[in-house]
């Protein structure tokens, strides 16, 4: 039985929202909760007798902890306890127990497990106090004593240690084997370019600080509000690490203040808060600081080299793309960086490689459009360079090499409306007015340039369950342990259910964010609509069949002989398609059938046999205008048109925001974001919002989003493909290409800071 879980305070659409159809623009159902401050995030759930935990982090990068001087810290009034590896409660000794559902190959860090320090900023102690202020102060008085060992954190200095990645990770596929003879074709070709690219470390920096509130109930049950992209992943992790059965732990995440991949794996505040709750036998809250949010996963620093060659007419004859990225000593974090280059353009000779270098850093973690953000960036700058070598329009070069089938897998695309993206995007932007030569447009003291790029991302589907419960009063509650990290999950799922059942949206509630709900995948990879959305629609379809069965069994039923395709659910009724006046209101149906509620559960499994016959991807064409100051090298992105092919768009308003947000991320990647490491200390230096600049309002100008027609029933029964990542991919390349068009200066590294523009 799936009921509404009261503490989740699940939002429902405003009264009067009415009937909805897929593709409509509907206001976010959680909007009111968010604009009034009523929505509670992980650190905001009240608990009686709450203890506050503040984390102490290592100041060395590698070595061992010899001991702690805790005397001053323990003397701070209000301090309850200080947990270190020496006095922590029991944790499972097996390395395997610490692997969460998205762990890559290798074995994860075990917080406070032993005396080993393996990266700078590693959590080494948790100070617990009656107030946050006392814990924060005492944490500054904890004095660890270390035996320091030499560390290696610089990718450039250790490229000779590059190795093939080990182990599996969801969403990762190693580069395909070589097609044709890429180097020989390159050597023989008349037109060619070679280029090297560097992308620095980036940190996700969702606005909400990572936090866990562990509420210990009288019977010892732990209810944990955690910042995560999957309540079930965090529940699984806590159960395995501490040996607590699923009945003793519930994890909730009804509101998540952004994550962008950082919540794909449980972060260290979760096990620390749990061990404190177990040790103190009381409720505990641990909130990380902004600085501490630079002490777990990041987008890995990556070096890339690309060689492209073409015939004089622009036909690509060789693509070579090599990438080397950093990972930790403990796990082989992998992401798809180069495979896109074997997927986007038709070519007979393609060679791709991807290698890792183990460094004394924390394991990287997926960050919005992992791999593609910088992998497609490099390819799309290289394509721009090739277009100038060919003296060909950059868009014409892409159309010349348009891939009708996946060139390395030789599979057809399930759908691919990229040509429409190019056409509609170019028309909207006015691309045909573009002068070919760089340094052709100037306004005042600024050079003006226009650039474009292609984007692509996977169209993925996983498996999920959903339950649907129709209540006697006509309310429909659909549930799945999904997540809404700001993506619009609450809204889009309620729309799917309301449209499917023909109910006004305000009578439908989609419940998510609790580990006890039917199984859902981690929210990531742009897969939530294709996966959970399909499960929701499947559950509704099953519910329709159950309701028809009830209707058929009514005395003298007008539906007695009706088959499911002869009826429809519309306007809150079940009715005959042929004779819509023959109808019954759904609450009436339940009343006559003597049912207080009707519940169904549905398991959605992807049709893998069908899906494997196709390459499944989203596509985009991004056009942008930049203004570059002649003297200062400052760049403003004044105009962006992003044309997206992502299957059927279900929730137009929230999907639009996803793409706009992705474009903002692309601009921020292009111009601003990099976490810089002092390799003598092995430490990230700019670990705060003042020195790690993310785009602010003044950095963002006009952004226009176009969704082109696409309907993909291979990827999902809804026709949808997912919009979480595609908005970002290609944007930074379009910006870089526009800067070249403006100034004649080619900048292949990100971020494109003014010093690089001046020096180029």
């Amino acid at each position: 039985m799936t009921e509404l879980i009261e503490p989740l305070k699940t939002p429902t659409a405003e009264p009067g929202t009415g009937m909805v159809q897929p593709g409509m623009s509907v206001s976010r159902v959680d909007g009111r909760a968010k604009v009034t401050g009523a929505a509670r995030y992980a650190a905001e759930h009240p608990a009686a007798d709450l203890a506050y935990g503040v984390v102490v982090n290592s100041t060395i990068t590698k070595g061992r902890i010899l001991g702690f001087d805790l005397a001053d810290a323990l003397r701070v009034p209000g301090v309850i306890d200080i947990i270190t590896h020496s006095n922590r409660p029991r944790m499972r000794p097996f390395k395997l127990s610490y692997k969460d559902m998205t762990a890559p190959g290798g074995f994860p860090f075990r917080p406070l497990y032993d005396d080993v320090v393996f990266y700078s900023g590693q959590p080494i102690a948790l100070v617990l106090a009656e107030t946050f202020e006392a814990a924060r102060h005492a944490a500054t008085l904890v004095r660890p004593d270390y035996a320091v060992e030499p560390h290696e954190t610089e990718l450039a200095a250790h490229l000779h240690r590059a190795h093939d990645p080990h182990g599996l990770k969801a969403g990762f596929a190693p580069p395909p084997k070589e097609k044709g003879h890429a180097q020989a074709a390159f050597d023989a070709a008349p037109v060619k370019i070679e280029a090297e690219f560097h992308s620095g470390v980036e940190h996700h920096n969702p606005m909400e600080l990572f936090a866990s509130t562990v509420i210990r109930e009288a019977d010892g049950h732990l209810t944990i509000y955690d910042k995560t992209q999957s309540s079930q992943n965090s529940r699984w992790y806590v159960s395995h690490v501490f040996g607590l059965s699923s009945r003793k732990v519930t994890v909730r995440n009804p509101y998540v203040g952004g994550a962008f991949g950082s919540g794909l794996r449980p972060q260290y505040q979760l096990p620390l808060a749990v061990m404190a709750a177990l040790k103190l036998k009381r409720s505990v809250r641990v909130v990380l600081t902004r600085q501490q949010m630079f002490t777990f996963g990041h987008r890995p620093e990556t070096r890339q080299a690309i060689k492209l060659a073409a015939e004089r007419d622009g036909t690509l004859v060789s693509i070579q793309h090599d990438a080397v990225a950093e990972t930790s000593r403990r796990e082989d974090y992998t992401e798809v960086v180069v495979n896109w280059s074997g997927q986007l353009y038709a070519c007979d000779n393609i060679r791709l490689s991807y290698h890792l270098v183990d460094l004394d850093n924390y394991t990287p973690i997926d960050m919005r459009a992992p791999g593609a953000a910088h992998g497609v960036h490099a390819l799309e700058i290289a394509m721009d360079e090739l277009s100038y070598a060919l003296q060909m329009d950059p868009l014409a070069l892409r159309l010349k090499n348009y891939a009708e089938i996946d060139p390395t897998k030789n599979l057809p695309f399930s759908t691919k409306a990229l040509r429409d993206c190019y056409t509609q995007g170019a028309a909207r932007f006015g691309w045909d007015q573009r002068p070919a030569a760089p340094r052709s447009m100037r306004k005042g003291n600024e050079w003006v340039g226009w650039g474009m790029a292609t984007g692509t991302w996977d169209a993925m589907q996983m498996f999920a369950r959903a339950s649907a419960v129709l209540h006697a009063d006509g309310r429909l509650v659909v549930s799945s342990a999904a997540t809404d990290i700001g993506t619009g999950t609450y809204t889009v799922m309620a729309m799917i259910a309301a449209a499917s059942m023909g109910l006004p949206m305000e009578r439908v509630t989609f419940q998510l964010g609790d580990s006890t709900l039917p199984v859902a995948p981690i929210e990531g990879g742009s897969s939530h609509v294709t996966t959970v959305g399909s499960a929701v629609e499947g559950a509704c379809e099953k519910l329709q069949k159950r309701l028809l069965k009830l209707a058929k069994a009514l005395p003298d039923s007008p539906f007695a002989k009706a088959k499911i395709d002869e009826v429809e659910f519309a306007d809150g009724t079940l009715r005959l398609r042929a004779r819509p006046e023959v109808r019954i209101e759904l609450p009436q149906l339940l009343q006559h059938a003597g049912e207080a509620r009707v519940e169904v559960k549905y398991l959605m499994l992807p049709d893998a046999l069908k899906q494997r016959k196709y390459q499944r991807a989203t596509h985009s064409a991004v056009f942008c205008e930049v203004h570059v100051d002649e003297d200062f090298g400052t760049v403003r992105v004044t105009r962006v048109v992003s044309a997206i092919a992502a299957g059927k768009i279900i929730s137009a308003k929230t999907a639009h925001s996803q793409i706009t947000g992705g474009v903002v991320w692309g601009i921020s990647q292009a111009l601003h974001e990099e976490t810089l490491q002092d390799h003598r200390l092995g430490r990230f230096m700019n670990a705060n919002f003042a020195e790690y600049h993310v785009a602010v309002n003044a950095d963002i100008h006009d952004i226009e989003v176009i969704f082109v027609e696409e309907d993909d029933r291979v990827v999902s029964r809804l026709g949808a493909k997912g919009v979480g990542e595609i908005g970002l991919v290609g944007v930074a390349a379009a910006v870089s290409n526009a800067i070249y068009h403006a100034t004649g200066r080619r900048i292949r590294d990100t971020p494109i800071t003014p010093d690089k523009v001046i020096a180029a």
Binding site: G37, G67, D69, N205, P206, L209
Partner: protein, 192 residues
């Protein structure tokens, strides 16, 4: 191995003595409250942890992100940078105090209408900041709104919609304005 040193002969240092409490009075969302608090408690932590008014968000605790923006005597301030004792006698308005019962403040409604939010974590700060912005009377164009709303970081990237929402409520026509700063920017100036 722990190496705690309990054998100290010196008296506890001043930093480890119980912090003294000071009486303050705040009017929060129209209701007067009295507190006995330590000087090290920020207005933000007072609101969130002691009054359970968690609508004001902590995003950096260093005045770098604006998520904690509240109105103090009508001016927008970063509640994380304001010690609660320094606000003694002030009228504080938080996001919880903007709506009139079930009737949303026009900015709240405009944020919903324009989808000027995604995860929602920066949203209370954005809205309180916009209320302060309107009172300041400095922004007259969309470019001005962009510039003067730049103390509020939105990592989801809802900036275009935020500008639309704020501009609509302020009666600023969209995109009809020249791309010029509202006034010459002088680094280090603080608006009074």
């Amino acid at each position: 191995m722990l190496t705690e040193n309990h054998a100290t002969a010196t008296p506890p240092s001043p930093v480890t003595m119980a912090a003294p409490l000071y009486p303050i009075e705040l009017t929060v969302n129209g209701t007067r409250h009295q507190f006995e608090i330590e000087t090290w408690v920020t207005l933000l932590d007072l609101l969130r942890e002691r009054m359970l008014l968690t609508g004001s968000k902590k995003g950096c605790d260093h005045g770098q992100c604006g998520a904690c923006t509240v109105l103090s005597n009508g001016r927008r301030i970063n509640a994380c940078l304001a010690l609660a004792v320094s606000q003694n006698g002030h009228e504080i308005t938080t996001i919880e105090g903007l709506a009139d019962g079930n009737q949303l403040h026009p900015l709240q409604q405009a944020f919903i209408d324009h989808d000027a939010l995604q995860c929602g974590y920066c949203t209370p700060g954005q809205i309180c900041s916009a209320v302060g912005l309107m009172r300041e009377g400095e922004a007259h164009t969309t470019a001005g709104v962009r510039e003067l709303m730049s103390g509020n970081v939105c990592r989801c990237g809802a900036y275009p919609q935020i500008v639309q929402a704020v501009s609509q409520v302020m009666g600023i026509a969209p995109a009809a304005q020249p791309e010029a700063p509202v006034r010459p920017t002088v680094v280090g100036t603080v608006l009074s």
